[in-house]
């Protein structure tokens, strides 16, 4: 059975939450390469953004991607505030950072479940998604929404972290901490998982640099870059962040990096909750933004998000360019596909942590 076959992982496939069209050419069980077709989720967000005012854009930008919605609105709001030349109150900065970290935990736990499901461990998928409900409960308590929170506005945030939220959050995060240690033990000791992830689809550090990747996939290959530390938005310059890297860049190190990043985010949440200053949570912002251009970078759960925004004095943005982290990650995927078995495709796809809604915009 050695003749070449093309395996269509088409718009609909149990492997994909979102539609892409991946044509894998394989001979027998060996994968030779793959061609990728995006554009199934292209809704022209940048075009739509030009026909909406800045405040109307926040619900739109929140719906670019359901998993990292808060990071998008945070970056957009910081960009508009930079153009307006206003500084949001420190309490609002800390609340924004708190939700960014909660969203990172939520995204990494979601990814952990999806990887376990693709490797054949339904049980770990169920348990990790059950524990993810803890994070969703916290976000629902804070902002009322499980997936799209609507907590950001230009000039600050709309909901405050009240006194009785603190014990609830502390207790839930403590429970989460124990659960993550259990998952880490499972992933480190279980021989069948190790057999499926060790040495699968390694990525070298200079390949990562050539493709301009900056995120968990890059950190898993030893490239020490994290936008929260290297190009920090306001609250992160006052918080010390330890960046987790792993030298050998295969599927296992991508797992290792993401799980330990959940620990790191839990620690960050505790630091934020202790260091959160008192004060009001938003500042009045004018509707018309003076002419100017700005570029803002921030760290989404999957890597570096770049926002370029230009205003022309009206209340409509003149140009909004969004570059999401999944685009370079998708560009590098065919390189990974050239050295694996057919059975490893799910592990590679889970390792890239696809977010097609981000990539296609």
């Amino acid at each position: 059975m050695k003749e070449k076959i093309t395996i269509p992982i088409g718009p609909q496939h149990p492997l994909l939450k979102e539609p892409i069209s991946l044509r894998i050419d394989a001979s027998g069980e060996e994968v030779l390469g793959g061609t990728l077709r995006l554009g199934y989720v292209h809704r022209g967000i940048e075009k739509l953004a030009e026909s909406r005012t800045y405040t109307q854009n926040i619900p739109l930008i929140e719906r670019i991607c359901g998993i990292c919605s808060h990071v998008h609105t945070t970056t957009f709001c910081y960009a508009v505030e930079a153009l307006l030349g206003i500084e949001i109150p420190p309490r609002a900065q800390y609340i924004r950072a708190l939700l960014c970290e909660l969203e990172r935990i939520h995204s990494h736990l979601l990814w952990l479940g999806v990887l376990a499901k693709h490797v054949g461990l339904e049980t770990v998928f169920m348990h990790s998604w059950h524990d993810r409900e803890l994070v969703l409960d916290i976000m629902e308590e804070l902002s009322g929404g499980r997936v799209s929170h609507g907590i950001n506005q230009i000039g600050g945030v709309r909901f405050d972290v009240d006194a009785e939220h603190h014990p609830m959050m502390a207790d839930k995060m403590q429970k989460l901490h124990e659960r993550i240690t259990q998952f880490m033990q499972i992933f480190e000791r279980e021989p069948s998982i190790k057999a499926r992830t060790h040495g699968v689809a390694p990525l070298s550090a200079d390949l990562i640099r050539q493709y301009g990747l900056a995120g968990p996939v890059a950190r898993a290959s030893g490239v020490d870059v994290d936008m929260r530390r290297d190009d920090p938005l306001p609250p992160y310059d006052r918080l010390d962040i330890s960046v987790i890297t792993h030298p050998d860049g295969d599927a296992w190190s991508r797992t290792y990096v993401r799980i330990y990043e959940i620990y790191e985010s839990l620690l960050l949440c505790e630091k934020i909750l202790q260091a959160i200053p008192e004060g009001n949570i938003s500042v009045r912002a004018r509707r018309k933004v003076p002419a100017g251009e700005v570029v803002v970078r921030s760290e989404a759960p999957r890597g570096e998000v770049v926002y370029y925004l230009r205003s022309n004095g009206t209340e409509y943005p003149a140009r909004l360019k969004i570059r999401t982290p999944t685009l370079p990650a998708l560009a590098i995927m065919p390189m990974q596909l050239a050295q694996i078995h057919v059975a490893d495709i799910p592990v590679v796809l889970a390792g890239v942590d696809l977010c097609i809604a981000c990539a296609d915009r």
Binding site: K17, C65, S69, H130, S148
Partner: protein, 152 residues
Amino acid sequence: MKGRTRLRQTINSIYRWAQKNSLWVIHYNSGGCNGCDIEILDLLTPRYDVERLGILAEGSPRHADVLLCTGPVTRQSKEGLLQIYSQMPSPKWVVAVGSCSITGGVFQGSPTVLGGIDKVVPVDLYVPGCATRPEAIIAAFVQLQERIAHGK
């Protein structure tokens, strides 16, 4: 003749009972923001657990009875949606989950978006909400089951 029709009725009611209690679901995202998709995947997890209602997530359209689709059908994913709908054996139902699968939602007016699942395939049930809550999707399933029990 009377006996035959009563026999046909009992068989039909048994079929309806079986179809009501064993809904196999296939999920297709036609270009949405994957907020509703992670809530649909949440249905399988311990807190919501739709297997109690006999609902299973299936991989192949041939095995599925209900097509759960999200997203405001983008032009590129329209053909995939039609293909899946045609591959599913009847009796089949379509449930549109999320505001953008009903009317295009927040992405209305974009040139690459058709705006709504019912512009491509006939829809049986609409579940509103932007990032629909899992409870709302379960309520939709229960309503679908009652509708099947009463013969569509």
